[in-house]
């Protein structure tokens, strides 16, 4: 089990002065949703938490060690990131792509063995993508690619999941399936944080919420205290109507 925490973290968004220092602890079993309008710094936050980008000040701690002090391989065995956009590079098949999730665990001279293949295939199966295994990733639809990207991180089997809009390009069924997967990971004792644009997914699936404002202000806490219509209306500068469906609030934008 791993715990990811921030200490007085201020992320480095170009042209922004300061902001609220973040002191967040993502405990095992929690599902965090990060909400905010375009350009609020959600992706920058996830990249900073993954150690891909240096913070402006403060630090990120993985199990009480500063992230910058740890070897990348050590980090990659504990922390996985679903990117919002992907580069294709050279052509590769779906199975090859899922298999790179095993990279942090293999020594330089080691080839992928039967166990690694089994993990990759199980992950593809879980994401409903097993039938695509021999297709080139470049020939897939946007939603299929998204599922392959999530399957790659599932193959990586991290203790901490960081997912940047994991439901991008997905149809309704697969949106729910992916959110159920995240909930399942949390139930297994892993920590999850994801950026979302869909308030209703956050309301249904997240137990903690971080609201990020374009000027750098932020507030966070349990879902019930954060997902209040007045706060969300000022966050998105959009009038909202709230109805309740199936025990969860549903937010619908309405004309001003």
């Amino acid at each position: 089990m791993s715990v990811l925490a921030t200490r007085d973290l201020i992320i480095d968004v170009p042209g922004r002065e300061g902001g609220t220092p973040l002191n967040i602890t993502i405990e095992p079993g929690q599902v965090w949703g990060v909400l905010g309008p375009n350009g609020a710094g959600k992706t920058t936050l996830l990249h900073t938490l993954a150690g891909l980008q240096a913070p402006r000040s403060g630090s990120v701690q993985l199990n009480d060690s500063a992230l910058g002090q740890l070897r990348r391989r050590h980090v990659a065995q504990r922390l996985g990131l679903v990117f919002q956009d992907r580069q294709d590079g050279f052509p590769a098949t779906v199975l090859e792509t899922a298999l790179i999730g095993r990279h942090p665990y293999l020594s330089p001279w080691q080839m992928e063995g039967a166990d690694d293949y089994a993990r990759a295939e199980a992950a593809l199966e879980r994401l409903d993508a097993a039938h695509l295994r021999d297709r080139l990733v470049s020939t897939l639809s946007g939603g299929e690619r998204q599922r392959v990207a999530i399957a790659t991180v599932l193959t990586q089997a991290p203790n901490v999941w960081l997912a940047d809009e994991p439901t991008n390009h997905l149809d309704l069924h697969h949106q729910s399936a992916v959110m159920a997967l995240m909930a399942e990971q949390a139930a297994a004792g892993y920590a999850v944080m994801m950026c979302l644009h869909d308030l209703n997914l956050a309301a249904r699936w997240c137990d903690h919420v971080l609201l990020m404002y374009p000027n750098g202000d932020a507030c966070w806490g349990p879902r019930e205290t954060m997902l209040v219509p007045s706060a969300l209306e000022s966050l998105y500068r959009q009038k909202l109507a709230v109805v309740e469906v199936d025990g969860a609030p549903v937010f619908v934008p309405i004309k001003a």
């Binding site: 993954a50 891909l52 990659a76």
Partner: protein, 323 residues
């Protein structure tokens, strides 16, 4: 898994051996493979042995080493720059080496001095391009590529200027050097050992290179120390190219076309592609050099012309056939 790597590599190894046998047998005097086997074991006709062991074998091995070095350097550059058009010369290396070699020739120097000067020029160009691309921020693949292309264009102008200003009797040698010429190579061992050492060092890095080919951020997220790896690739590819250019002048096309042909046929696993490049690049250049010295014997053709004439149609055919 091992057969997936082993089968294509064994096939390429056989092709390489066949090409080397051909190179040893064909020429002003034809020698059969059986005779070559005898000669290699120290038997047979003394004159034929001298010809094979002291002329044809070093030249064929040099050609093999140079072809292998260029192809591996090309494959590395393509991964580093994530650009299919990258080749060993794109970063201005051959231009720098050419300036060094031509300057030595203009100064009336010969042999080792030309090689040393070419090597110096290649390294100078490497550092110049990297320093300029690094600038005040950090380098990105596109910035490195653009800097290299522009510096190479600059070298091209200087080369033309040097050719225009040089005395007529020195021109043929200079032109041959520019088009690639293996008759300058003396001992094949330095480039051959470098090729072997590189393959041994690179194979364990292969999987990291596979991940890096998917972009630096994805690679970092999967545990690759991206900057050190990129440095390692850049320095290695530069060194390989400098060694190749120093041995045989500038031979275009091998570094661009061989990795692509192999990727079309074998996929994109660098653990397979890099050793395959060493074998296939070597084989192509051995064949090209054999043709270059036999087609219009006793005159020789520049080997760079032959590599292009063999490589262009093969590459275009495979590209046309690919999905």
């Amino acid at each position: 898994m091992l057969t997936r790597l082993g089968f294509p590599l064994s096939l390429l190894l056989l092709a390489a051996l066949a090409a080397l046998l051909l190179a040893l047998g064909v020429g002003s005097a034809q020698i059969s493979p059986g005779q070559i086997m005898d000669l290699l074991q120290g038997e047979g006709d003394a004159l034929a042995r001298t010809m094979v062991m002291e002329l044809r074998l070093p030249r064929a091995l040099s050609a093999f080493a140079v072809g292998g070095l260029l192809a591996v350097a090309g494959a590395l550059m393509q991964v580093l720059l994530r650009n299919p058009l990258a080749d060993p010369y794109v970063l201005g290396l051959s231009g720098g080496a050419s300036i060094g070699a031509l300057a030595a020739m203009l100064g009336g120097l010969g042999g080792l001095a030309i090689s040393g000067s070419a090597f110096g020029g290649a390294l100078l160009s490497t550092f110049l391009v990297f320093g300029l691309a690094h600038g005040s921020g950090g380098w990105t693949p596109s910035r490195l590529l653009l800097t290299g292309v522009v510096v190479a264009a600059g070298w091209g102008a200087v080369i033309t200027l040097m050719l225009a200003l040089s005395p007529a009797e020195r021109l043929p040698g200079m032109l041959y050097w520019l088009m690639g010429d293996l008759s300058y190579s003396r001992t094949p061992w330095p480039p051959l050992l470098l090729l072997l050492a590189t393959c041994v060092v690179l194979i364990p890095l292969g999987r990291s290179l596979n991940v890096l080919a998917r972009g630096p951020q994805q690679a970092a997220a999967l545990g690759v120390a991206v900057r050190p790896l990129e440095w390692c690739i850049y320095v290695t590819a530069s060194l390989l190219t400098a060694a190749a250019v120093t041995t045989a002048g500038s031979i275009g096309f091998v570094g661009l076309v061989v990795p692509h042909i192999l990727r079309l046929l074998l996929g994109n696993d660098q653990r397979l592609i890099l050793p395959a490049c060493a074998l296939a690049g070597g084989t192509l250049l051995v064949l090209a050099d054999t043709l270059a010295r036999t087609l219009i014997a006793p005159e020789q053709l520049p080997v760079g012309v032959i590599t292009a004439l063999l490589g262009v149609p093969t590459f275009l055919f495979l590209l046309y056939r690919s999905r």
